[in-house]
Symmetry: C2
Subunit: 454 residues, 2 copies
């Protein structure tokens, strides 16, 4: 019989990975809560009418569709099945799909439950999403997103909260980060002052790559995309800008003089930098006018976070959008949000060896099942240890010591207790440190106190 | 535009439900961990070859199937689509399905990762499952299961651990429970001593209902199912048995005298009751020889838990099985497991008003955005409060007090801090208790200390 397997692009998480993943999620979640964000969850399946058309044509193709249950061919003209295109047939026989991200379900949630929600609504959501992407290294068909969004408030204090959340999460995880900020209105302003407001998408797509391909290549691409030489000339100073956020702000004030939108974006940025300084944010964000992320989605602040010590792309990102829920008929709701990339954060922690040792542990102590006839004694001490809030287990079978030790080893249990008839009579049990093999004789009270003080 | 909706049988969980659900899961998870159980997670999608044929014909129909991605009609003889039955067509165009429970994916996991696993393997798993059942009150198409299983050990100590886990979980949740125990071998013994070992399934199906329909109706059903009058006569004493576990054990020893299997089951039960008494399990499980649960699945101990104060069916159940992984070509692995019904536990807690008040809270305190010009001051105090580990937020917009208060009310935030220019100058801020409307003047240090000592 062949070994069973799982669909390509999906993963099993064994205990060792799970405890590390839980560690990441719990750090993020605790910080979200500290800032007043509250959890929601939405179903894995959404109606296809909710999902289709929200992610572009390419996205529609990447949706996992669920075959209608029961007699899915009931009422369908079979002839159509032989004639129509695959896409059309899919829609005849499936009306549900797996969620593709957490943003569209969140927008749907807000509109559906608008009467029950108190705005501003600060929600976080940590759930898996599914995409029928071609699987490759670091890209999965099932992966988790950790989103926090505040909607129904235009205040920049929300952006400031998100910057603080980013700061606290990565400080807690001990990952050194570079946080980049920009504002979509500045990008719009750039297009305006170069006289090519209609080319905003071409402009941002090209300059978003400046870090990767360099400024000369960007100029080439701008040419290829049909921007005028005069326009490109005006963009150059934006791309070659250096200095602190304050210095860049001064320069931009001149460059964007002719664009009301651009100046508005600049003002928002300046205020955000001021407030960050006032609350002594532990890092100075970098003002990066080439940062675009997601092109047409954001309308204000844009945020991107990279790890300093590992090259892996962004590990968190987000921004402000003006109209999250308009697609579902509820216009004018502005929001700002960020999303942590749990898989990449996992890789960073793994590569830098930053997972706390404690995370790898399962039980704190194991009682060896040394003599079958003493089982009631073992049961009693393992019960006492658990009552003290310590994770403990009794090996379930009175098998060879070697087997029990290797079980404790494999499970990364730091201590085992060994007690035969003599030890039990004297009340002095052997506590063995599984790391260095040292053994000492202690009473059960002493053992509990020792385990509790680690 | 129509309000968007979600597929029938699925649910959104808003913040109020989420924090309550998280409370239940965290209680269960903490107890699992205390007993040395470790977490795993498996993908939502499994290959249909893994799932099909594992849940009976009816179960196969209830699997959600996922349409193959990309060009799902590629290479398929279109003519077949017009001629074949729905079932067959489904398998032509879908090769993945959503998991139906956590047991089959766990079995698949164990076989697939057998080389990496240390046995005995005590795993827990808390994830959603999907069934294309007809939705009705209390029955959903997406719901969570919380399973703990120990496989690779025949020791009854594992059963004892599970009984203790049940005891701790429900004690912590403050739900009073009745725990019923039986052993499949006793049921087999009953069938044997009545000379109708081949009718085991009919026998168990019928007597499983004795609590619901009464003993006379069960006798009728046994007749209808073709058991001989002589056989039924021998079953009567089993069904009318009364008394303590010890008394029932004594009686059963006589009744099962002729069945080796039956006596083996009885011995296991007696040992389990003895050990439960020895470790002073806080409740005496009920020995219920009519308990069958799931008919052909279990091979040893059978466990069922009901709430005493709410009529809702079982809220936890499980048992021992001899051959979890045989279906995937790895025979001879015995295990024992339990599953908590999170949805029903939620309903019990809700009906008995047992959710701790603390669970409903979101932020511990909100700082009122009283005067726009004092925002930096507010930012500073909210930062100080968070640094003390207290969940705090600043209302993001300097809008009317009334609006800010009703936000705090709706979010169940117990305290708000109000500070205008005068209060800021004096250092005496107003702390308002949102429940009773009382207000007192305190320094920020006093406020933090007060919030920390609640």
């Amino acid at each position: 019989m062949q070994k069973p397997s799982i669909p390509k692009g999906t993963r099993d998480f064994g205990p060792a990975e799970m405890v590390r993943r839980k560690y990441i999620f719990s750090v993020i979640e605790k910080v979200f809560q500290k800032y007043g964000y509250v959890p929601i969850e939405t179903p894995a399946m959404e109606n296809l009418s909710t999902l289709l058309g929200k992610y572009g044509e390419e996205g529609d193709k990447l949706l996992f569709k669920i075959l209608n249950s029961g007699d899915f061919l009931n009422g369908i003209d079979r002839q159509k099945l032989t004639e129509s295109e695959g896409n059309k047939i899919a829609l005849l026989i499936s009306e549900k799909g797996l969620r593709y991200d957490l943003t569209v379900p969140f927008a749907r949630f807000v509109v559906q439950h608008r009467e029950e929600i108190t705005f501003p609504f600060k929600r976080y959501q940590i759930q898996p999403v599914w995409r029928a992407d071609k699987p490759q290294k670091g890209r999965y068909r099932e992966f988790f997103q950790c989103d926090a969004d505040c909607i129904g408030s235009n205040s920049l204090l929300n952006e400031l909260d998100l910057l603080q959340i980013i700061s606290e999460v990565f400080a807690e995880l001990k990952i050194r980060v570079l946080v980049k900020l920009n504002n979509r209105k500045i990008l719009a302003g750039m297009a305006e002052v170069t006289g090519q407001a209609d080319k905003l998408t071409d402009l941002t797509t090209a300059i978003d790559k400046v870090e990767k391909i360099g400024y000369e290549k960007v100029v080439e691409e701008l040419k290829a995309r049909g921007l005028t030489p005069a326009g490109i000339q005006k963009i150059v100073p934006f791309l070659t800008m250096k200095g602190t956020a304050a210095e860049k702000t001064d320069l931009l004030r001149k460059l964007l003089q002719q664009s009301e939108t651009g100046l508005k974006g600049l003002e928002e940025m300046a205020r955000l930098f001021d407030m960050s300084r006032a609350i002594k944010l532990p890092f100075e964000p970098e003002f990066d006018v080439s940062l675009a992320r997601g092109l047409n989605y954001y309308t204000g602040t844009i945020i991107e976070v990279k790890a300093v010590d590992v090259e892996i792309g962004s590990i968190c990102g987000g921004g402000r959008y003006d109209d999250l829920t308009g697609i579902f008929g509820m216009p004018g709701i502005s929001g700002v949000g960020i999303s942590f990339g749990a898989d990449r954060i996992y890789d960073v922690l793994d590569q830098l060896n930053l997972f706390p040792e404690k995370v790898a542990q399962t039980s704190d102590v194991m009682v060896v099942n040394f003599e079958e006839k003493e089982q009631l004694f073992y049961l009693d001490i393992v019960k006492q240890i658990r009552s003290a809030g310590i994770k403990a287990e009794l090996y379930p079978d009175a098998v060879k010591l070697k087997k029990q030790f290797s079980y404790a080893d494999a499970r990364n249990i730091p201590f085992v207790i060994i007690a035969g008839g003599d030890e039990i009579a004297s009340g002095q049990l052997s506590l063995r440190n599984m790391k260095n093999g040292e053994q000492e004789k202690l009473t059960i009270t002493e053992i509990i106190s020792k385990l509790n003080h680690r």
